[in-house]
């Protein structure tokens, strides 16, 4: 791990805290799923935390984030209250969408967090259109569009890259390549193999591949990408090589890969790696680490309690907000 950009102690603590919030949130939601408090599909982000935190922390409040259905990490990194997230996962009235969206459809318009979209690739044209809207309004925000390796084979991926480049839109395409689309390895689905960022070149979009298990590398590449986009030079494509330790969803028995593969990736665990780096550089002390860990544990315990104790939506709510 390297630190080419200046990073201060407060930032280090914040990065560590945010990654840990995501990890603990996901572990807690897995437990609630086993207790049937969370139903439906639950896709955990464990292992990928450095991507959401490294990338989203480089954005400003004027920027926008839109993502796929493995969205808890992005929502939390963008600043969503874990209580509202957990309550949404539990289908409660106090959830971020009043219980109408669920795990795959988290939204917080005030934070410019525009979802949580569960049709693979579907969020991409929408993100491009947000970039178009920003440009037409002469605003200076940037849209960060997250998607996975599975989306790359969808037509909407190609249509989106083409439009964004053609119209020089302020968009960062952020590919989280975790190597599997559900249970199918990227090398079995993608003619060009696992390095997908090459694709962007054809659309005349500058592209970079980064180690998605390395927060600082993700963060620095994002800052560099934003500089390009904010200068009005059109979109940038980033590919973070990452890995999810858990299955595709909680319903996934994970028959398609060896446990040894998971263990190999765990050696590079992004949270542990960042902690070791920060401690080695003298940017965080063991006692600060301990303090953050206990604060996060409390935060997540509170979120779980809040969700458990929150009421289900009232029956009358069923017809609310179908139309504006």
């Amino acid at each position: 791990m390297k630190a080419a950009v200046n990073i201060d102690k407060a930032q280090v603590a914040e990065f560590y805290r945010k990654m840990l919030v995501i990890r603990r949130f996901e572990e807690a939601s897995a437990r609630l799923y086993m207790q049937s408090l969370i139903r439906g599909f639950l896709h955990l982000y464990i292992g990928e935390e450095a991507v959401a935190v490294g990338a989203i922390s480089a954005l400003g409040p004027q920027d926008y984030v839109i993502t796929h259905y493995r969205d808890h990490g992005h929502a939390l990194a963008r600043g969503m209250d874990p209580k509202a997230c957990m309550a949404e996962l539990c289908g409660r009235a106090t959830g971020s969408s009043g219980g109408k969206g669920g795990s795959m459809h988290l939204f917080n318009a005030k934070l410019h967090f525009m979802g949580g979209h569960a049709i693979v690739g579907g969020q991409m044209p929408i993100g491009v259109g947000m970039g178009l809207g920003i440009k037409l309004k002469r605003e200076n925000g940037v849209v960060m569009v997250f998607f996975g390796d599975g989306a790359v084979n969808e037509g909407e991926f190609h249509e989106s890259l083409n439009l964004a480049s053609l119209w020089k839109l302020p968009v960062v395409f952020f590919l989280e390549n975790n190597l599997y689309g559900m249970g199918t390895h990227v090398e079995r689905t993608h003619a060009a193999g696992r390095d997908i960022y090459n694709f962007a070149e054809y659309y005349k979009i500058p592209s970079v591949q980064v180690d998605g298990m390395d927060l600082m590398e993700v963060h620095e590449a994002t800052i560099e990408a934003l500089r390009h986009v904010r200068a009005g030079q059109g979109p940038v494509f980033l590919e973070a090589m990452t890995y999810r330790y858990r299955g595709h969803s909680m319903a996934d028995p994970v028959n398609y890969r060896d446990n040894s593969e998971v263990e190999e990736w765990r050696i590079n665990d992004p949270i542990n790696r960042f902690k070791m780096f920060a401690m080695g550089e003298g940017l965080i002390t063991p006692s600060e680490v301990e303090r953050i860990e206990s604060e996060v544990a409390e935060l997540i315990a509170d979120a779980v309690e809040f969700a458990r104790e929150s009421p289900f939506p009232k029956a009358e709510a069923i017809y609310d907000n179908i139309y504006a």
Binding site: G101, A109, G122, I126, G129, G131, G133, V143, E159, Y323
Partner: protein, 325 residues
């Protein structure tokens, strides 16, 4: 009061919105330099410039999704999908995204996108270019579906659509662009969910929308020659649907036939027939009749195609068969 054609009425509605509100812009295939595949946007590029009259690649999912995204950040896009057949390539964006975002975000997001598209057959464009899918879209909560049949309605409904904050599918029939009619000089709007009674009569209610409301009127003329008075209802919007006007009419006439251009199997006419039977069963002299397109892919050859699309004679024959009048 001016007499104009549907094409001019729609162009007027679009122009008004573009002039009134700088958040309004248009996207679509060949709407700019080409002047529009159906010439609705003729001259717009020169008038409003390439930023607001935006030619797109042939990329329906891409630009419809982009319209949804632009709407999410405060714009009011109008999209033209060249024909409703091509809307299937954007159906993911229309049905899975545009129609859902308001609800799934519990009111945090607003999607003011009007999707104009061209529906219908009758121009010998064969099976892939002659379909009428507005009824499919009308089954989706979160969307509104509009299908005008006259210049007056085209302008009045479009004005309503372009002020609405929801995703709207505005289906313009390819064969109605040249239909002439009177449009007032002073401003008016036609609300959604209010059917028009085109003609009053006591013997049978004929229900149609889009081009089939004209067919319904032609059928009423033929019935009049035989001394029967048909009441003709033009639905104007499929969602919201004004079933009350239909039911009121059926309570008077005791007979109903629904005319629709799309395939009879699974058509929206089935929804109308079912609703009428639920609301007015004891007023009916017989089952609600349906006249729809034949259950075949639209053939190219003129005589074959003509046989697939409902016309006045088929409506009159169906009324005779069903009701003996």
């Amino acid at each position: 009061m001016a007499e104009i054609i549907v094409r001019e009425a729609i162009a007027q509605g679009l122009r008004e919105a573009l002039e009134r509100d700088e958040r309004v812009f248009m996207m679509g295939e060949d709407i700019g330099a080409y002047d529009g595949a159906y010439a609705v946007t003729r001259g717009f590029l020169k008038e409003f410039g390439p930023e607001r009259i935006r030619d797109t690649p042939i990329s329906e999912a891409g630009f419809v999704g982009a319209a949804v995204g632009a709407a999410l950040v405060g714009m009011r896009p109008i999209v033209e999908i060249m024909t409703i057949n091509f809307s299937l390539l954007a159906m993911d964006q229309i049905v899975n995204h545009a129609a859902k975002l308001r609800y799934m975000s519990d009111g945090q997001l607003t999607v003011p996108v009007t999707i104009r598209t061209v529906t219908g057959g009758g121009a010998q464009l064969a099976a892939t270019h002659s379909q009428s899918f507005e009824g499919w879209y009308a089954s989706v909560p979160g969307l509104k579906v509009v299908a005008p049949s006259t210049p007056y309605d085209a302008l009045g409904l479009l004005r309503t659509a372009l002020k609405d904050d929801n995703p709207i599918l505005f289906a313009e029939h390819a064969l109605l662009y040249g239909v002439r009619g009177e449009v007032p000089d002073e401003h008016y709007e036609v609300p959604f969910g209010k059917a028009a009674v085109r003609r009053e009569g006591a013997d049978v209610t004929i229900i149609g929308y889009s081009r089939m409301s004209h067919v319904a009127e032609q059928a009423a003329d033929k019935l009049a020659e035989r001394g029967r008075q048909a009441e003709v209802i033009d639905l104007r919007t499929l969602r919201p649907l004004d079933i009350d006007t239909v039911v009121e009419s059926v309570k008077k006439t005791n007979r109903a036939v629904v005319v629709e251009e799309t395939w009879r199997t699974g058509g929206f006419a089935g929804e109308i027939a079912s609703a009428v039977q639920e609301e007015a069963f004891y007023h009916l002299d017989g089952p609600v009749a349906r006249v729809g397109g034949l259950d075949v892919p639209a053939p190219y050859s003129g005589p074959l195609e003509a046989a697939t699309i409902p016309n006045a004679d088929r409506v009159v024959d169906e009324i005779a068969r069903s009701f003996g009048i």
